[in-house]
């Protein structure tokens, strides 16, 4: 007590880093902005409306669930905005607004809050929302339009993956167009350049570590290299198509649903890559990123268990066995 006022007493440490959950989420939102900007340019201002609807619904859903369940208010941590944006990013720009809203509600209420909120969900909310919508409204969720046609009548088209599946790279946009996002696809997944830029930002800000994106993209690249008999052009098309970059950089790296340790992250990334490649090669679906991440999400507890590091100074197993043998 000093001058009659009680001093604060707490457990050490008495200094903390400046990093907070809110700052991390803000960094993720910033990292998604380049992709959003390119998307608006490619698919028109409707993109912004879709995002606005899904983000608003995500925030409202988070607010309502926390209120109803009488839990602390968490909209301030901005994680609902990240989820809302990712839900929108995984839809075509032509999606009916109510579907965009529904996606956010499924993501926030069913996947995130039913399991206890941030950090507790076992599957990526945006991924599950996308899968539910895809299975429920297949036509609307795959109504792709050609980029830069929004001013006139939007022209429907197939995605690059559907074309790739037929085994030809003809009639595909040039690799440069693919890299810059001038191709059909979900509104947030098309521009590789913007997604990579966002990923670099997150790496610099130490929000994510390179293990998962590198293992994921690397695995897909290796498998596709084998499938394409060393055709690098084909590999490039595979990597730039579909939701691979969006998934690998922004969805598979979700803290709650990926392993904590580097070893676990690498296993997780490789697993995502293998499943994605298998679906792309053998399944009737054209794209496998969401299912790959979902399946690996479910395996995270097992990966975690298998990759717990040995505490400092714990003798290695062989040594222990040797010692036991000696004794």
């Amino acid at each position: 007590m000093i001058n009659g006022k009680l001093l604060t007493v707490s457990a050490s440490p008495h200094v903390r880093s400046v990093q907070t959950t809110t700052k991390i989420m803000l960094d993720v939102i910033l990292a998604l902005m380049p992709a959003l900007a390119v998307s608006v340019a490619a698919f028109g201002p409707r993109v912004l409306l879709v995002c606005a609807v899904s983000v608003t619904c995500a925030i409202l859903a988070e607010y309502a669930s926390r209120k109803i369940m009488k839990r602390s208010m968490t909209i301030g941590d901005l994680s609902a905005i990240v989820t809302g944006l990712l839900v929108a990013f995984n839809m075509p720009s032509t999606i009916p607004f109510w579907m965009a809203g529904l996606g956010s509600v499924i993501a926030i209420v069913v996947v995130k809050q039913f399991f206890g909120g941030i950090g507790q969900n076992f599957a990526n909310p945006a991924i599950v929302a996308r899968i539910v919508l895809l299975l429920s409204f297949g036509a609307e969720m795959t109504n792709w339009v050609k980029p830069l046609t929004w001013k006139v009548d939007a022209v429907s088209t197939a995605t690059t993956l559907a074309t790739l599946k037929t085994g030809s790279t003809e009639n595909l946009p040039s690799l440069a167009d693919m890299f810059l996002g001038m191709r059909a696809g979900c509104l947030g997944e098309t521009c590789a350049a913007a997604l990579i830029l966002g990923g670099i930002y997150l790496l610099i800000k130490k929000v994510i570590k390179p293990a998962i994106p590198a293992a994921y993209i690397g695995t897909v690249a290796v498998i596709m290299l084998i499938k394409g008999h060393g055709d690098l052009n084909f590999v490039a098309y595979e990597l730039l198509s579909g939701g691979l970059l969006l998934g690998a950089i922004f969805m598979a790296t979700d803290y709650s649903t990926s392993p904590i340790n580097t070893k676990g992250k690498i296993i997780f990334g490789i697993g995502c890559g293998v499943i994605t490649a298998l679906i792309r090669m053998f399944a009737s679906m054209t794209e496998g990123v969401s299912f790959a991440i979902l399946i690996m999400n479910l395996l995270v507890p097992y990966i975690e268990k298998a990759t717990v590091p040995k505490p400092f100074g714990t003798p290695k197993k062989e040594k222990k066995e040797k010692e036991a043998a000696k004794a």
């Binding site: 000093i2 008495h14 200094v15 880093s17 907070t20 959950t21 941030i118 950090g119 803290y255 400092f312």
Partner: protein
Amino acid sequence: MAKKIAGVLTAVKKVRGGAKVPHRKNTAETEVVRIPTPSKVVIPMSMHIGAPCEPVVKVGDEVAVGQLIGDSDKFVSAPIHASVSGKVVEVGNVKLPNGMLSQAVTIESDGEMRLWEGIKPPKVETRDDLIKAVRESGLVGLGGAGFPTHVKLNFPPEKNIDTLVINAAECEPYITVDYRECIENSWDILSGVYTLKELLGFKQVIIAVEDNKPEAFKVLKRIADNEIDVNDEVKLMTLESKYPQGAEKMMVQSATGRQVPPGKLPADVGCVVMNVGSVAFIARYLKTGKPLVSRSLTVDGSAIAEPKNVRVPVGTNIGEIIDFCGGFKEEPCKIITGGPMMGLSIIGTDLPILKQNNAILAFAKDDAVLKPEKDCIRCGRCAAACPMSLMPTNIVRAVKAKDIEMLNKVGVTVCMECGSCAYACPAGKPLVQHMRLAKSILKEEAQKK
């Protein structure tokens, strides 16, 4: 990154994780000043790790500086000496900064700081002489832990101890007393290093310093390069300035690449780690015979008017020391003894300074209020920061579930409570508190059996 300099070692095996804490070494260029003799000192009989001492004086006794006032016949203990001259006015219980009760001897100072006539330099020619002398000096690890030094040095010959690591890392923010020791008392360090090496038969001595202290580096380099080191067995090692480089097990790993197994001591892997201040003290003691009755500490923090390095008699009232440093310039909200990473927050200033205290830090509201606790987002920053490769998330889960089986598996006993995990946590979780809870649950369980 520790730069490579010819003749200077770098870490054999680097410390994993850790925290890039702010340095805030505001007092680095402030010479250590002696505070005016306090009117009264309260000297607890339990300052060190190990058995408390029993008072050997009674109320009314006249004592002089350096006179024995408490001792124990237990091995893990260190005798306690009067830090001022004067009269014993009370022998009773006091509350220590950690909240425990301990017997204490209160001495009213006569202001003279008269040395006890029995003080004379000890005769030290052999290893046993040295260990006996160190015990009589009352020395405990001055780096903060307070482990009796003579116990540390009294390793059995069959342990094959080959390395003495001298810790001048001082990785906690704010604290600069070890740095000042290097600058101001380099002769003592030099003498201490070579005496310990010769009498205890270390094959090598590695002096470790962080790379953010170039002045200390220069001094220590001269000590390591001294010509009496004919076989070049005393070496300097620079470490990347990163918390917790200065932790004992980390020091051993950096210097030798060896890892101390869980539940073991550095001696089990052939090392002894000593704080640079402790080494310098031994040299002074061998020269003068004056036991550990005063120590240097850093007084700093946003609420302190004039941050200083001070030399104070053991048992001086913390409030009196703060007054000497100009008192508070802002209303203090939190006061801690030790560094901000591992220090202890205290409930008031009416407490005595202990032998192992190396800092008093007082923080105004802005620095005292930590970020609010939020839900864990499983980002893994705690696990990445843990120098002991633990998984704080798993430990917290086991603590909450009181799952004894899981607690036994998660390896929490190797946790040294360095606080790197809690520092890194964006959700502001009090992780160290959970680690302590985990340990106490395990202790309770062990006692049940």
